[in-house]
């Protein structure tokens, strides 16, 4: 207990650092719930998270293992498993089988889990991390995938400590999972972080899983060893911070043991440890290890795939995220990595107003139309700025879903808006007002105003069009007013003398603000120079 506390305080006080003489090696085991309509071996609805407030709602007789029930394989799983296997560069096994893994637990109703032990679904794959996309210290790092196996999820135990009872919810029982096992190829934390992000995005991108850690749709176990001593398996890591805190803690624990000369005694047998929020704790060691007594399932047929199944699924595969990023970062789009990621990297799915797929499609369609309209003079930054920055900003402010936006501003209309800006017919400031107005009034109409949008008349109606010709007298009046309001003689003197040339820009900015950008900046500049008698 004392020892544990000591690690805790040290970690809290110091910044974590890998020490060169203590080499870290990690492997990951990731369980991913597949978002099929039905469960793995029954026709029950697969929706464990949505039905969390209705325990045991999505359960068939098989899901609770009634006597006389039998598993019926849901072939929908094959498509998702094959997509993921292809994306992870795995060899798909054309003749895999289901095995039973035996252990007792209250939320495991069969007394065993149906999994794939002897002949898993796919193996020998890899995922490549690259410094340009994935924020790792190496140029490139290959993480080898040992295998992918299809298996059942268990039910869920809910502990009621006050009356020392545990309740069991079988909504999750028999939900399809893919367990993915990597080789112990990770040598630092950045690699692990970027692999997790990349894998999570991949399953979302492929539509294989929601990939959410917080709902348990994705669960991560970590194998860790230091200087090739026996490995420790870390389990019960419910979120990203616990994953990394547990690894840091465990690394430090190993280093201390090795430093103290206790490694030969303490680190020769593998162990399973959990994370309690502040330290890792022993769950199982050699003496209490479980013999799972794996056995081929005697009634489930083998999964046999036709020769042309995998090539067929390859045809259905979307472009993978790295390829999409590469394409978006090169001409004609030439996006920054950050902007390209906004269009590509899927975040948590429930609290977002758009999917990456929708946004990317909107961007690409708008870009294409704008490019056609603008011809050679097109500015690749215009769609980026106006979609990724302005539109998304407004959507968030107004809480409008992208699928609503396209009802009023489909790509062709958005492209028209870009053309007004492109041709200088509206200033940026006016265009911002216009965009906000369009979205806001559409929302206020309860998304019912279906009359087609006429940008030109809107611009006229709100007098947002750029003023090409301003009477010189009006202009002088506005500029003089700005100088008077400023009341800063030092600045004015500086401008006149040429010592504070930049301050002239400040004055021009004030003019732009006053005219809401409708008057071109060069008109203000020449008028200020004229009034002040600037010679430079």
């Amino acid at each position: 207990m004392i020892g544990r506390r000591a690690y805790g305080t040290r970690l809290a006080g110091q910044k974590f650092k890998l020490l060169p003489e203590y080499k870290l090696r990690c492997g990951l085991e990731i369980h991913t719930q597949l978002c099929t309509a039905n469960k793995l071996f029954s026709a029950s609805t697969n929706s464990p998270f949505a039905a969390a407030d209705k325990p045991n709602y999505h359960t068939s007789y098989f899901d609770v293992s009634l006597p006389g029930t039998q598993p019926l394989f849901n072939h929908e799983v094959l498509l998702l498993a094959t997509k993921l296997s292809i994306a992870l560069n795995c060899d798909v096994n054309l003749n895999s089988q289901f095995d039973r893994k035996h252990y007792f637990y209250g939320d495991q109703p069969l007394g065993y889990q149906i999994t794939q032990h002897y002949s898993p679904f796919a193996s020998n794959g890899f995922l490549r991390l690259r410094s340009i996309f994935d924020d790792i210290d190496q140029d490139s790092k290959i993480i080898e995938i040992q295998q992918l196996q299809i298996e059942q999820d268990t039910g869920k135990s809910v502990y009621k400590e006050q009356d020392s009872k545990s309740l069991i919810d079988f909504n999750r029982s028999n939900v399809p999972l893919i367990e993915m096992v990597t080789r112990p190829d990770f040598t630092d934390l950045k690699q692990i972080r970027s692999f997790l992000k990349k894998y999570q995005n991949l399953v979302r991108h492929l539509g294989v899983s929601t990939g959410d850690l917080e709902t348990g749709a994705m669960r991560v176990d970590v194998n860790i060893s230091v200087n090739d001593y026996a490995r420790v398996e870390l389990k019960n890591l419910p979120n990203t911070s616990s994953i990394f805190n547990a690894i840091k803690f465990e690394y430090q624990r190993h280093v201390d043991i090795i430093r103290n000369g206790d490694a030969e005694e303490t680190l020769t047998h593998s162990q399973t440890r959990g994370w309690n929020g502040s330290s890792t704790v022993k769950l199982r060691s050699k003496e209490t290890t479980i013999d799972y007594r794996y056995m081929p399932d005697p009634e489930l047929p083998r999964i046999t795939l036709a020769e042309d199944f995998v090539p067929g699924v390859s045809q259905l595969m979307p472009e993978l995220p790295d390829q999409v990023l590469e394409r978006l970062m090169s001409a004609p789009y030439s996006l920054s990595l950050k902007d390209a990621k906004i269009l590509t990297i899927n975040s948590n799915s429930h609290d977002q107003l758009y999917t990456q797929h929708q946004l990317q499609q909107f961007y690409l369609d708008t870009f294409k139309m704008y490019q056609q309209q603008a011809g050679e003079s097109f500015n690749h930054k215009l769609p980026t700025n106006w979609i990724i920055h302005e539109l998304l900003g407004n959507m968030n402010k107004l809480e409008i879903y992208l699928e609503k936006v396209v009802e009023i501003l489909p790509p062709e209309e958005f492209s028209n808006l870009l053309m007004f800006i492109h041709e200088g017919k509206v200033s940026k400031a006016s265009a911002k007002l216009l965009l906000f107005h369009i979205l806001n009034s559409f929302k206020e109409s309860n998304f019912k105003s279906t009359s087609s949008l006429d940008l030109s008349s809107l611009i006229k109606e709100f007098e947002l069009d750029a003023i090409e010709v301003v009477p010189q007298e009006d202009l002088r009046q506005i500029c003089q007013g700005i100088i008077d309001d400023l009341g800063d003689d030092n600045m004015i003197k500086g401008i006149i003398s040429g010592k504070k040339k930049n301050s002239l820009k400040y004055l021009v900015g004030q003019g732009m603000r006053l005219s809401q950008g409708r008057i071109k900046p060069h008109l203000f500049e020449s008028t200020f120079k004229d009034i002040l008698g600037v010679k430079w």
Binding site: G68, T69, Q70, H102, R293
Partner: protein, 461 residues
């Protein structure tokens, strides 16, 4: 069958139940159902082995662990029979979870053999109650399950017909698993016509059963039937041992004589792998059994220890202690065969030997095997004839004391029935003759040739 005849059968039930302990539960609706029944099996009464689930009667598997368990659904076989007009009389006693060959290992006590009016003789197991119900003329037919001989041995001991169809012919959906790779629903009756009619109703593909024989293989099988008036019948030499009592061997000879008299050709065949059947069976079946029994933790249904779920740090010990002794033996045996240290040497080896045995059967038969794809042997036999048991029924007391001295003693009872289970072959047990009480012979055919077996049996019955 007329309602009058059915009611007459039914009237025998109370005394038969009292004398032979046949049923674990009895239906109270029989009279009503008889009046409204219609269909090809109208008016036929039947018993259901109590490891086949039913909605309106409990399903106990003869075990304390499932005491009073009531299934929310009917097994496919029960459903099909009800729809065809047959009326269930009750659930029949059995060796717990189908594990046993004497019919003595039940939480409800042993079933006694109705053939022996004096003394308490075993009816054979594990479908003991199903056999006794037919033998006592309480029902027209019964459903049993046969994993290593559990329909055929009690049929022989009670001198009735016991049919184990090809594996996968009859749905297992709703049959509580003992060892799925072997479990087969069987039909028991005294009347071959009734048995055939029942089989016709049950012989259907069931999408709810992952091991159900699919329709394309069924139609493939129907192309390979035996169309001969005189058959070539093989007698496996390995299944005619000197240890078998003289009178039983005599019974087989008599059957052979009558077959030859009818013009059939009888010849000896060799199936050397038959000697491996017992070790293969007792490696695979308990392994599957221990796995299938793992669900009985008392949490969702069935018996649960009132006080605690954990003992000495192990989950569910207090509840699972309520399995009977024979089930516990097989749990230990199954776990031993599955543990990582012995899996390769035992389980995998047994699977290989099982394939070897099937190949030997395929070498002997003239018909091809539609499952293995093995071609038929042009000089092969149409069917095989063998004894169903190597001993006569003994008293329950003798059986129990022999078992006590050596738990393996009763394992040998199934030695002649196991090879067909391991190969999934259709096999019918036929009483050896009027004066040979408790002795049966088996007629077996190539996988899928069920119809040919039933047709050929007409010569013998």
């Amino acid at each position: 069958m007329s309602i009058k005849a059915a009611l007459k059968r039914l009237s025998r039930l109370p005394s038969a139940q009292e004398r032979f302990n046949i049923f674990t539960s009895i239906s109270l609706n029989v009279n009503n159902e008889l009046e409204t029944s219609s269909g090809p099996l109208k008016g036929l009464l039947f018993g259901i082995k109590d490891n086949i689930v039913t909605k309106d009667m409990p399903t106990t598997c003869g075990s304390k662990i499932l005491l009073d368990y009531k299934s929310p659904f009917d097994a496919t076989v029960v459903d099909l029979l009800k729809k065809a007009g047959a009326v269930a009389v009750g659930k029949t006693n059995l060796d717990e979870f189908g594990m046993g060959s004497g019919g003595v290992h039940s939480h409800f006590g042993p079933t006694f053999n109705p053939l022996y009016k004096d003394g308490n003789f075993i009816a054979g197991g594990s479908s003991s109650g199903s056999a006794a119900a037919v033998a006592a003329d309480v029902v027209d037919f019964s459903l049993g399950t046969d994993t290593g001989g559990s329909v055929r041995l009690p049929a022989a001991y009670t001198s009735i017909l016991g049919f184990k169809p090809s594996y996968g012919r009859i749905s297992r959906h709703g049959v509580v698993a003992y060892a799925q790779s072997l479990d087969t629903v069987g039909i028991m009756s005294k009347d071959l016509n009734v048995l055939q009619r029942v089989f016709r109703v049950l012989d259907k593909y069931d999408p709810k059963d992952p091991t159900s024989l699919n329709n394309s293989l069924r139609s493939e099988a129907s192309k390979h039937l035996v169309h001969r008036n005189t058959l070539k019948i093989g007698v496996p030499m390995e299944m005619n041992q000197d240890v078998v009592p003289f009178e039983i061997r005599q019974a087989l000879l008599k059957v052979i004589e009558s077959l030859m008299a009818a013009g059939h050709e009888i010849l000896p065949v060799s199936l050397p792998s038959v000697k491996n059947a017992l070790p293969i069976y007792y490696t695979l079946a308990p392994a599957e059994a221990v796995s299938n029994l793992a669900r009985y933790d008392g949490i969702r249904y069935g018996y649960r220890d009132e006080k605690q779920d954990i003992e000495d740090g192990t989950l569910f010990v207090p509840t699972r202690r309520n399995f009977g002794s024979e089930v516990q033996n097989r749990i230990v045996l199954g776990n031993y065969n599955l543990c990582s240290g012995s899996f390769k040497n035992n389980y995998i080896k047994a699977q290989k030997l099982r394939v070897e045995l099937i190949n030997q059967f395929d070498d002997v038969f003239r018909l091809p095997n539609i499952l293995t794809g093995n071609e038929g042997n042009p000089n092969g036999v149409d069917m095989l004839l063998s004894l169903a048991s190597m001993s006569l029924p003994i008293s329950v007391q003798d059986y129990k004391s022999k078992d006590m001295r050596n738990p393996l003693h009763s394992y040998i009872n199934d030695i002649f029935t196991m090879p067909m289970s391991l190969a999934g072959l259709p096999t019918l047990t036929i009483p050896a003759g009027n004066n040979m009480k408790g002795i049966g012979v088996q007629l077996s055919g190539q996988y899928g040739s069920d119809q040919s077996i039933l047709n050929a049996a007409r010569t013998l019955v």
